[in-house]
Symmetry: C2
């Protein structure tokens, strides 16, 4: 493995030992796992030779070499070319990274597999999470596999299928009045009073975030190079930030000289990060307007942690990328198109990563001859009510 140097604050740079902490002790900034030295290519390949899925890349993960991964076979998802979209958009190369092919049908499994493996290393007595649905399902499944109790705080309007799944995996569910940010606070309190591991999929848990990096290594291997653009639906944005970190690691390891441009996509009625980008701001503010979108998986107003949005915004700027807001009718249009013309049933939040392409073209970000990988983050079957 790459040995952990510190959990480093992304705002003030203060370093902390790898313990059960979620915030900078000085400025409350979010933490990023920093390693002693970069992993070189040979080491990396040797380390993961016998593993499959994300654990093929375990040398890039903050997990001790003797730890048994808590795994359900996550990762190793298909990268598929989409001819019907290439035609409609007059775009030369459009691919999907189909993360709905993960064990609990969402990209979250990458994060939760690493988080639950870390939880076992820390010998915690349980895990807790806030969730709009997908993280809860994934946390419940991986906690079951790890034989740890799991408590999940979700907004009341979370899709019923997702609640059913959490229960089936044996988790304890707490329905919260309000939105994801309200659930977030309650999960944080529970973790503080009990010492349970908080695996909420924002930037709170640095181990979970590291799991998301593995999508970059897979895209690099499957695409055979680095695509010009990677388009990711974002709430707070840990997948986007971790994906870019993964590509930077590949660059440092000498595996590529190029980095992709990152596009972060939000629903127009809950777009704190996309709005900040649109207005050329340096900081993201919490979203105060009414939220009315079927994209429940990314409807995060960042109420008490707008700095998480800023971390994602900075990554978008660093990659020369963009923030995009899409309307519900366009995401539903592409959700249907994707199903009827390509045989992929994405949840509405994921369809934003397709709907964004026409906006990116119109605004001049995406050029005709560029290659683009859109990440389908979750399966439509977990939110059947969203499609008519």
């Amino acid at each position: 493995m790459a040995e952990i140097k510190s959990l480093t604050c992304v705002d003030c740079g203060h370093g902390h030992q790898a313990e059960l902490i979620y915030k900078c002790e000085r400025c409350e900034g979010s933490l990023d796992v920093e390693y002693h030295s970069e992993v070189n290519g040979e080491e990396a390949e040797a380390a993961g030779k016998k593993e499959s899925g994300i654990w093929k890349y375990r040398s890039f993960l903050p997990i001790a070499p003797n730890s048994e991964p808590v795994t359900l076979g996550e990762g190793n998802t298909p990268l598929l070319r989409m001819p019907s979209l290439e035609m409609e958009l007059e775009q030369s190369e459009v691919y999907f990274k189909n993360e709905s092919a993960n064990p609990t049908l969402a990209f979250k499994d990458r994060a939760l597999s690493v988080a639950l493996t870390a939880a076992k290393q820390f010998n915690v007595e349980g895990v807790v999470t806030a969730s709009t649905g997908n993280t809860g399902v994934s946390a419940a499944a991986y906690a079951a596999r790890a034989k740890l109790p799991c408590k999940i705080y979700v907004p009341k309007k979370t899709p019923n299928e997702k609640l059913r799944l959490m229960k089936i995996f044996g988790a304890e569910i707490r329905l919260v009045e309000g939105n994801f940010s309200d659930a977030y606070l309650m999960a944080a309190q529970q973790a503080e009073t009990t010492g349970w591991f908080n695996v909420t999929s924002t930037f709170l848990n640095p181990y979970a975030v590291e799991g998301n990096k593995t999508i970059a290594y897979e895209i690099h291997e499957q695409f055979g190079d680095v695509p010009d653009w990677i388009v990711i639906p974002i709430g707070a944005g840990p997948l986007l930030v971790a994906c870019f970190k993964g590509f930077k690691e590949l660059q440092l390891a000498g595996k590529t000289s190029k980095l992709p441009r990152m596009a972060g996509v939000q629903a127009a009625s809950c777009a704190p990060i996309a709005a900040a980008f649109e207005n050329g701001l340096e900081e993201v503010a919490a979203w105060k307007q009414p939220i009315a979108t079927v994209a429940s998986g990314i409807a995060d107003p960042l109420t008490t942690y707008p700095k998480d949005g800023t971390r994602t915004l900075k990554t978008i700027y660093a990659s020369d990328g963009c923030g995009i807001a899409v309307e519900d009718d366009r995401m539903l249009h592409y959700q249907k198109k994707l199903a009827k013309e390509e045989g992929i049933f994405a949840e509405p939040s994921s369809a934003t990563a397709i709907a964004a392409l026409e906006v990116m073209k119109r605004k001049g970000y995406l050029r005709k001859n560029e290659s683009v990988v859109s990440v389908i983050t979750g399966h439509g079957l977990k939110d059947l009510m969203s499609i008519q």
Copy 2:
């Protein structure tokens, strides 16, 4: 590829050219793809080097080398060890092959990917299928990807989630009074009058059946050897038969000297093949007793094609295997156990592959120190109503 020698009747041995046929022209027996020469290991590895999932093994498939696969990234599903079951059953090595991690959440995707690729080769105008649910969903998705119309005949009591998915993928659905065998007849008639490709997942379509073989190559690679037992839920049984054929091909290619013993599992209230095995018969008779099981995915009475069951029974005998019938309460017990203790949510039909293990031990088929791979054929999310 292995060049097709003939579509050979499994009953009378009569050979046919590789055309759009589904039955022996002499005796109406089912057809098996026979190749000119066995593929050797090196050829196989060279052919599929750049492909992923089942198409890594395209040299073993009856598809022309210049054909573009109709693929959604099927195959390459996780093989996972199940410690909680090893403990409960006092069994040394229990693994699951998690086929619910396929693009439409069932093993059928292996068959339908090959079938739709063949459909494109034959230049058909559409595809038709009978289905208890999973085949229909898979056929609809792959037909969408192939840009071909798809018509599906299903029993009226097919789970609602599966019907919704077929519609979302743009298929035309015909609800049929009666059971799967009734739907089977109507699909066959439609194929005959229109010339559409019948992709019904019994033994009707020899191309589809060949796709199922790929599960054997994957188990062999992932397990690192051949397990003592492979346990598969069966309706007519094409997955079991094709899996064993795959292992025999590996043996002929010099990749292994051992073959696995095959256990076919059915629900006790619809168990034509398991009952024939139990009674030591050479032939399977259609099931005439009332069917009352939550395992809708395998509830096939074989009404007009009991010979399909005989083909599976013969494979069970040839492998020194067994046929097992399990009660609904045991499959539901293991469905819950699997979810709460291992984080895998299988549909009831799939949970039979776990419930069978205790029966196999009790009857003396499965010994304590033997390794066993149970195939989880489909995801519970497509049949949420089955779990309370």
